[in-house]
Symmetry: C2
Subunit: 458 residues, 2 copies
């Protein structure tokens, strides 16, 4: 990842060609761009905010270094004056955003950037890249969390996340969405997330037989032995594990648990629990892994699976049933003028905005209203906070555990019907303020009239 | 991405706990692990090799730095002797692999690592992470390439790839799979891939009207003006673009093209082509983007879409219809003993292996045979090459353009029926050599007998 030391070129070429044209036309007036999700992907009815911390780090550190400028010069697309401008480039704008760990809904601006046009434009690619992934994963994780509750969940996805950076972001975002820990050691180091893991099948096959493998592991990790029992046959594996557990008990040690990774997990977990209990190992954890997501967790539990904890891997780590969200970053204001886009299925809400959340007296979420930034809606809690001003971060990112707690509290106040894994889940009510409605209608009218005129004229 | 300066901790915790137990048991004998894909995901019937270069860089540079060791010490899981071992840790093994850009099939080892047990084990997470993503993307890209041929394709996925590293790897892997370029400027710099891009909708909305926006862009980029025509209405946009194209022509400049990004692309592309032709702009490229993948490319072309080039984004960049492959890295030999795993649906082929490819006299691929590493199958081309010996890379990675060429040649020799996008595509014939069959049958027999015995005894 040495190529990542400067992220200024982590951008679509069109951001830079547009910037060059803005520069040539001396268009430096402030613009506001809004980041939002256009549609609910596969059966989801809410989103969990995550990724803001990366965006703030990126914006504060954004520089074009000499190598970047050499490369751009070599493309022969850009004039020297524009390259000099990039050499001095800093992000000097302001950012409003919904804090990490909060819930939000379709069309609600999750983040708004206001800055001189070029600055607000060239950061688009990075912002979508960072936020789309982390919102998607925190949301997916929260669905698994909901299905498994009160059982615990560990992120096992590292080997099949889409690349290295995803491996890190998935560990962090799934923790925000309610997971207890991760198998990713680097995420443990960088983010302080608790790490979990003991053995793979290869550990078992590298010994002459299963019992030898279990004994060797228990010797090295007498406090942390979760034995994987399905390498050859789950039942015989569980019996071998129980045998070793008894040996440990006779030495005053406690078998921490066993892990099931294949087969009919609901049925096998019951049998394995019985095998353990019969040997007096009732406190050993039954850990299940292998292809789990919210749907399979729900199914295995409905079938009576006797499981304490799930390792949730690939399907969560790539958000397999919705591996991208329709997240967009669109210009909504330029030079004091509200703007919008009319493309089919891709129209936008104009102007700088605020989201207001209304709750019941018991703190349950009842509805949101998307309004203009300067709207004051009595009793509505404004969700977007100013997080950056003149290119400087003006909040301090809370510890990850606090972000998780923020999620847990708000999620517990979202009605069950919006968390369902079913196919026909109602939408949480999100309205527009009267001010925004009026502005939007005016602008659409004006634009349609212009299009009609242009089509008529030619 | 500063956290990425050492990748030694980019691993599942269990790799390190297993290593600690191997260390305590002085298990340093050589092991062989095999990387392969267990099943064909959604409608695919072949895979494209990609990612080897990253694996070789990782293995050659693998070190636990002092910060890594401090962190591991702090977990209190590991003994000082093991941490000292990690401090001196180097990868000293050998690697055989199928070169990048070649085709391979289900169950075929794509890469095999032979090294002292701990070394071969702890590299698992990184190897799967790097190879799974890049094989998946090169394969997806090749399907788009096949559907669009002879039209050209550009990777537009950067904003919605799953993280930063994926953004880079997708640009590289999609180029291997037949793409012409990418919008990712950093990939242009790092890998030398041609970059493409001109303007977004926000460019158009930041001007008072579309024609002003087009004129401004054409002034800055008279050689590189691809005008985006669907911000308000595709037909009126195309008329404005044609107007500006005529102005350019009168100044001796050529409008490079227009881009359509929404609506009924097949129908609109025909209308837009007509508008351009009527203004004498027959040479302008019609570029289409917006939600394309192999299926929608095929559909739009069947509907008569008059398109020269496609921007292919999100659905390719996350391999949306198959966002992970069932790629596994399994121990197949330890201390001279062939090993395998019997878990349901997850059994493995034992021993170090080679893949032999048989072709027709006209170079068409006819069948593959998976054999033992030392098998000699007359007329079969062995696919795995020794790429690393004693921890040193012993090949030089060819330029990316040459890897792409290797793919294009072999892909042209794969019969059409295996490339189809239909649902019932036949499988390419892959057999086992008689030596491997015999060994496999022996081992399965022996293991089943042992499981029966253990179940009977207890």
């Amino acid at each position: 990842m040495s190529e990542m030391k400067s992220l200024a070129l982590f951008t679509d070429l069109y951001e830079l060609t547009m910037a060059a044209s803005y520069f040539e036309n001396q268009m430096f007036e402030p613009a506001t761009f809004s980041l939002f999700i256009r549609n609910y992907p596969a059966f989801r009815r809410y989103f969990v905010s995550a990724g803001l911390d990366d965006v703030l780090n990126y914006l504060s550190g954004l520089r074009f270094n000499p190598e970047d400028l050499d490369y751009l010069e070599g493309t022969k697309l850009f004039k020297p004056e524009f390259l000099s401008y990039l050499e001095r480039f800093r992000f000097t704008g302001k950012v409003h955003a919904i804090p990490e760990g909060r819930l939000f809904f379709v069309n609600e601006p999750l983040l708004e950037v206001t800055a001189p046009l070029i600055e607000a434009q060239v950061v688009e690619t990075f912002i979508i890249n960072a936020m789309n992934l982390q919102v998607m994963i925190a949301t997916k994780a929260s669905r698994c969390f909901h299905a498994a509750w009160p059982r615990t969940l560990v992120d096992f996805s590292l080997r099949r996340t889409q690349g290295l950076d995803a491996g890190m972001k998935v560990a962090r975002a799934s923790f925000i969405g309610g997971f207890t820990g991760t198998s990713n050691v680097l995420a443990g180091k960088v983010y302080g997330i608790p790490t979990y893991g003991t053995m793979a099948h290869s550990f078992v096959t590298s010994f002459e037989n299963e019992t030898d493998a279990f004994r060797a592991f228990a010797k090295t990790f007498p406090e942390n032995a979760v034995l994987l029992v399905d390498t050859y046959d789950t039942i015989s594996g569980a019996k071998a594990a129980a045998e070793v557990g008894k040996e440990m008990a006779s030495q005053g040690k406690l078998l921490k648990g066993v892990r099931l990774d294949s087969g009919d997990i609901a049925r096998l977990s019951q049998k394995v629990r019985k095998i353990l209990s019969e040997k007096g190992l009732g406190e050993a954890t039954v850990f299940a892994s292998g292809g789990f997501d919210e749907y399979t967790i729900q199914r295995v539990l409905k079938q009576g699976g006797d499981i304490d904890s799930f390792g949730v891997g690939t399907k969560m780590g790539v958000s397999a049933d919705a591996p991208y969200f329709d997240m967009a970053y669109k210009m909504v204001e330029y030079d004091g003028r509200s703007v919008l886009k009319l493309s089919p299925q891709k129209s936008t809400l104009a102007s700088a905005k605020q989201v207001f959340r209304f709750k019941t007296p018991k703190e349950r979420l009842s509805r949101d209203v998307i309004g203009l930034r300067d709207d004051h809606l009595k009793a509505g809690e404004p969700l977007l906070e100013e997080v950056m001003r003149e290119g400087k971060v003006v909040i301090s990112t809370p510890p990850l555990s606090q972000i998780q707690k923020r999620f847990l509290v708000e999620f517990s106040n979202l009605r069950e019907k919006y968390k369902s894994l079913a196919k026909n889940v109602p939408e949480y009510p999100v309205g527009l303020s009267s001010g925004l409605k009026k502005l939007q209608a005016q602008l659409v009218r004006r634009l349609k009239a212009r299009v009609r005129k242009e089509l008529g004229e030619s």
